[in-house]
């Protein structure tokens, strides 16, 4: 056997007085493509970042690139989080900023961003176009970065990685936010780069993976254990397990309005000449459970931003929420207090310096971070829900000190804390493992028995709550179909 590319011996990593990796050993030989799984907080991201040289740990990591290979001798890490900067190099963006139009562009276009990247890495722009096309990204080249949805930002990260084609590529949860077609396209792309000599390390708990993956491992108790392909859908032991729903959430939400929850009549949204939503007609009645589907870029986030009071163009459309026609004296806080929302963007923009406890409690006030003192009843409910989600021990930890999966659980608790009349769950289980996803969906089924209205967005057909009864499908900003899946009992 040839020399290992990466040889890790006795790697130890501590985070806040807690051992994450303990005497971890791992040998990666040139021809192997590894898939690494493990429950949230097991140290997957820490290990990946350590190999990529982004964080330091104790122990020995030996890296041997192939000097004869044509591919660049680098380890490129695609983070599970995306980041972008404005024209002045800062990233102080705020939630819903992308819907506010300002004459002065604050960010560069996708094309300029890619050209700049190509120049730095000495790559030919034409080579990128192929990947751009394969990921269905061509129409977005002239969009600015701030206009992109989370799934589109993920694609931009992946385009850069595949274009660079380094000797080793580490992808941390690359499927987050991608629609079914894009996931399949990504797998085809990854098989292709692997065939050309890029070695892959894929961190994912997903089932559909590229066929070129041939070695499998799980991180458990700080160590890496090789497993067989079949073993990896094992039962992780996490703290978020089915229990009986807290009493305060098993009561029906008090109805505060009459009429339809949502009533859109020929709703149109456009930016300059670009149409984003076209003639949307959609009525959601109280208690209905909807699935909202559509590929990346079909207009789902924009549609939901209207429902959540986050889109300025709501005011020029014929559109009612909770019985109010928009723009007739209601405030967005009147709307938000009836909604429990989770979405990739809400997570991305959420106050990273709030503690887990504050984050959950902020759900009572629809704020990002906590600015009020909740009374004793509400505080008790926060504690109860933290217990339910297995987050009690983290209640005083800052959000940005937790792994993404745990942050997500905290934000899911925030979504539910006020027992809202309308639940909007836009890819709620991003970053969770399959077991956690199942538990969460069971919880949603339980809550929805009380008459809660639901709008659910999920790119994984196999991972949906059972209570869904209607489906609306968007394509290129228009309603392609709206159908009944399940007759109401």
């Amino acid at each position: 056997m040839s020399n290992p590319v990466v040889h890790i011996t006795n790697l130890n990593l501590w985070y806040r007085q807690k051992a994450v990796l303990r005497d971890l050993n791992w040998i990666i030989y040139p021809s192997d493509n590894w898939l690494v799984c493990g429950e949230s907080g097991s140290g997957k991201t820490s290990l990946a970042k350590t190999i990529a040289g982004l964080i330091k740990a104790n122990g020995n990591i030996e890296i041997n690139f192939n000097p004869e290979a044509a591919l660049p001798p680098v380890i490129h890490y695609v983070a599970n989080w995306y980041q972008f900067k404005d024209l002045e190099g800062q990233s102080n963006f705020y939630y819903q900023q992308r819907y506010n139009k300002q004459s002065a562009e604050v960010t560069t276009t996708v094309r300029a961003e890619l050209e700049d990247y190509g120049k730095k890495q000495k790559l030919s722009f034409n080579d990128a176009l192929q990947t751009v096309k394969q990921l269905g990204f061509s129409d977005l080249l002239d969009s600015t970065l701030i206009q992109l949805s989370s799934g589109e930002h993920k694609k931009l990260q992946l385009v850069k990685a595949v274009w660079l084609a380094p000797q080793m590529l580490i992808l941390d949860q690359p499927y987050n936010g991608l629609d079914k077609q894009s996931r399949e396209n990504l797998n085809i792309l990854l098989n292709a780069v692997s065939a050309k000599g890029t070695q892959l390390i894929l961190i994912s708990n997903d089932v559909e993976i590229p066929s070129c993956m041939d070695r499998f491992a799980e991180i458990k108790n700080g160590k890496l254990i090789e497993i067989s392909a079949g073993e990896r859908i094992s039962n992780p032991t996490n703290d978020f397990t089915p229990k009986s729903i807290p009493v305060f959430l098993s009561e029906s939400p008090t109805p505060t309005f009459s009429g339809s929850v949502i009533k859109m009549t020929n709703v149109n949204i456009s930016y300059g000449d670009k149409r984003v939503l076209t003639n949307i007609n959609w009525i959601v009645e109280p208690g209905e459970k909807w699935l909202l589907q559509g590929s990346n870029g079909s207009g789902k986030s924009t549609l939901l931003s209207l429902v959540c009071g986050d889109h300025p163009q709501a005011y020029s459309n014929d559109f009612s929420l909770f019985g109010y026609k928009r723009g007739t004296g209601e405030s967005i806080w009147d709307i938000k207090r009836r909604i429990g929302l989770i979405s990739p963007e809400l997570h991305w923009y959420f106050d990273p310096s709030a503690t887990v406890w504050q984050s959950v409690a902020s759900g009572f006030y629809d704020s990002s971070g906590l600015f009020c003192e909740p009374g004793s009843t509400r505080s008790g409910q926060v504690n109860e829900l933290l217990e339910y989600f297995g987050l009690r021990e983290h209640s005083k930890v800052l959000m940005n000190e937790l792994p993404l999966g745990k942050q997500r659980l905290a934000l899911l608790a925030r979504t539910l804390i006020k027992n809202p009349e309308l639940l909007i769950l836009d890819e709620p289980c991003q970053g969770l493992d399959q077991q956690q996803t199942q538990h969460f969906n069971r919880l949603v089924d339980g809550l929805c028995k009380n008459g809660t209205t639901l709008i659910y967005v999920g790119h994984f057909e196999s991972q949906l709550p059972d209570c869904i009864e209607k489906k609306i499908l968007l394509e290129n900003g228009a309603v392609k179909s709206a159908e009944i899946l399940l007759e109401r009992a």
């Binding site: 506010n100 002065a104 300059g272 005011y315 009147d334 310096s353 704020s367």
Partner: protein, 493 residues
């Protein structure tokens, strides 16, 4: 028109200067009701105009924009800002007569022309809202007696006003009612409702007067906020280059240092900023800032005196009439300084290094904040106002320097602030010439603690800490900061 303040008897001058009241949140329980169903028409759609309008509309209020005919016909940026966010836009003639509240968010320099154009169109008993009192106080604009005149001034850039609102919070805001124009006594109610509409009531509202706002705002921006930051930055950079420090490093230290240093100021006042230094460095910074205060005190007093007498605005308005001759010349001069022309080097400077290697700036900031605060309070301005116009705003201005140096700072601030900043800078540099001769790289460019054993005398340290902590700006600051919770931390560049 003549200077309004100068027409007042001393009793009334003192009376209006001394208005300042940090409002309790219980004052806002009525929400936006005082403006509900009223027509709000905003004049101008730049950063403040657009973002305040977005917030007000999202709070359930009826907002539209009025622009000059040329801006509408030419589809200028202001027109695009408003229409692309689904606001109604119309000319003065179309919208002003329908307005219950007209919100003037144009630059100071245009106020006289704008107000003269809109006032005849305003309906009986309407309200005119300003976000700065210069036009009323310094230019002495007379407003029709049936109209109410109020001020609402969010103390942050427009984008922050929006960002904080959508996260469920707000930015600190100052409000006032012009005593000459409150015929129905509704001014305060409307100003409070406007604060609720922009979210400001959640972050703290200061009730001030037109006079107090103008006299303290001018003083703060000319001295500590823009003037001293400019002087300190240029002198520090030149000193480092003179002493052989790498110019790229010097440029980066100065550009970003002031932001990192004043971030500590924002979180915990002068005390927190000084506490970031080692004990030896703190004592040194204290000593030189005392010296700086003695040197600069007469200059701070001169600026305050010229502001109070109206002399400052008089000479600035002469320059306005002169096509901004001085302003443009001074702006060009600033663009030519070595600091401005040297790009920040590609070196990593850690958070703590900005303090250890830039002790001089810590001393400048302490001296400037305390002097501006003391001078304002001595002139009859209330400590709360003085705090906002000195310490509170320093980190916001420092942020503009971090973005693109002094040119950016001067571009973002008002022309009035920019004019005053140059006046200060020109007078301050010669005043500090002798002081700067004594400064070496231990204070700027290299780690002050290097080669020192770090030992200090207990009593000396206790005395220094006591002096820092017991200063009035610290006492009032602790109270006000407690009321304005949840401040976001900046990232180190």
């Amino acid at each position: 028109m003549s200077n309004y303040f100068n027409t007042l008897p001393l009793r009334e001058k003192l009376n209006q200067l001394g208005v300042c009241d940090f409002m309790d949140s219980s004052e806002f329980v009525d929400g936006v009701n005082a403006l509900k169903g009223k027509k709000l028409v905003i004049v101008g759609c730049g950063a403040q105009g657009l973002n305040q309008g977005l917030n007000l509309r999202d709070s359930g209020l009826d907002v539209s924009y009025t622009l000059r005919k040329e801006a509408i016909e030419g589809k200028r940026d202001s027109w695009k800002n408003a229409t692309e966010n689904s606001f109604t836009v119309g000319t003065y003639e179309e919208l002003i007569p329908t307005a219950d509240v007209v919100i003037n968010l144009t630059p100071d320099k245009q106020h006289t022309a704008v107000v003269n154009a809109i006032m005849p169109l305003m309906k009986q008993g309407a309200t005119l809202l300003y976000s700065h009192g210069f036009n009323i106080v310094e230019e002495g604009m007379q407003i029709r007696k049936d109209l109410s005149v109020i001020m609402v001034a969010p103390k942050c850039p427009g984008s922050e006003v929006r960002a904080e609102y959508v996260r469920g919070f707000g930015v600190p805001t100052l409000i006032a009612v012009h005593p000459e124009n409150d015929p129905e006594g509704k001014g305060l109610l409307q100003a409070k409702a406007y604060c609720v509409g922009t979210g400001g009531h959640k972050a703290g509202v200061l009730k001030s007067s037109f006079v107090a706002e103008v006299k303290s705002d001018l003083m703060g921006e000319q001295t500590i906020l823009c003037g001293l930051l400019q002087t300190g930055s240029i002198l520090s950079f030149d000193k480092m280059v003179e002493k052989g420090i790498d110019a790229g490093y010097a440029s980066k230290l100065v550009q970003y240092g002031v932001e990192v240093i004043t971030e500590a100021l924002k979180q915990g006042g002068i005390t927190a900023m000084m506490d970031r230094l080692s004990n030896v460095a703190k004592i040194k910074a204290f000593e030189i800032s005392e010296e700086l205060k003695d040197i600069m005190r007469p200059l701070f007093q001169k600026h305050q005196d010229d502001i109070m007498s109206g002399e400052f605005s008089r000479i600035m308005m002469v320059d306005w009439a002169n096509g901004d001759k001085n302003l443009l010349a001074w702006r060009a001069e600033t663009g030519e300084t070595a600091f401005e022309k040297t790009p920040a080097g590609n070196v990593k400077i850690g958070d703590q290094e900005y303090f250890d290697n830039y002790t001089l700036m810590v001393a400048f900031v302490r001296a400037g904040v305390e002097l501006a605060f003391e001078t304002m309070v001595q002139a009859g301005i209330k400590p709360e106002s003085a705090y906002y116009e000195s310490l509170h705003e320093t980190p916001l201005i420092a942020n503009t320097i971090a973005r693109k140096k002094l040119f950016e700072m001067n571009r973002v601030i008002s022309d009035t602030a920019e004019y005053g900043c140059y006046l200060f800078d020109q007078a301050c540099k010669p005043l500090l010439a002798d002081f700067m001769k004594k400064v070496d790289t231990d204070l700027v460019g290299k780690n002050f603690n290097e080669g020192k054993d770090g030992a200090v005398d207990n009593r000396a340290l206790i005395a220094v800490n006591e002096a820092i902590r017991s200063h009035e700006v610290e006492v009032i600051g602790a109270t006000l900061r407690k009321a304005m919770t949840a401040m976001k931390a900046i990232k180190t560049a």
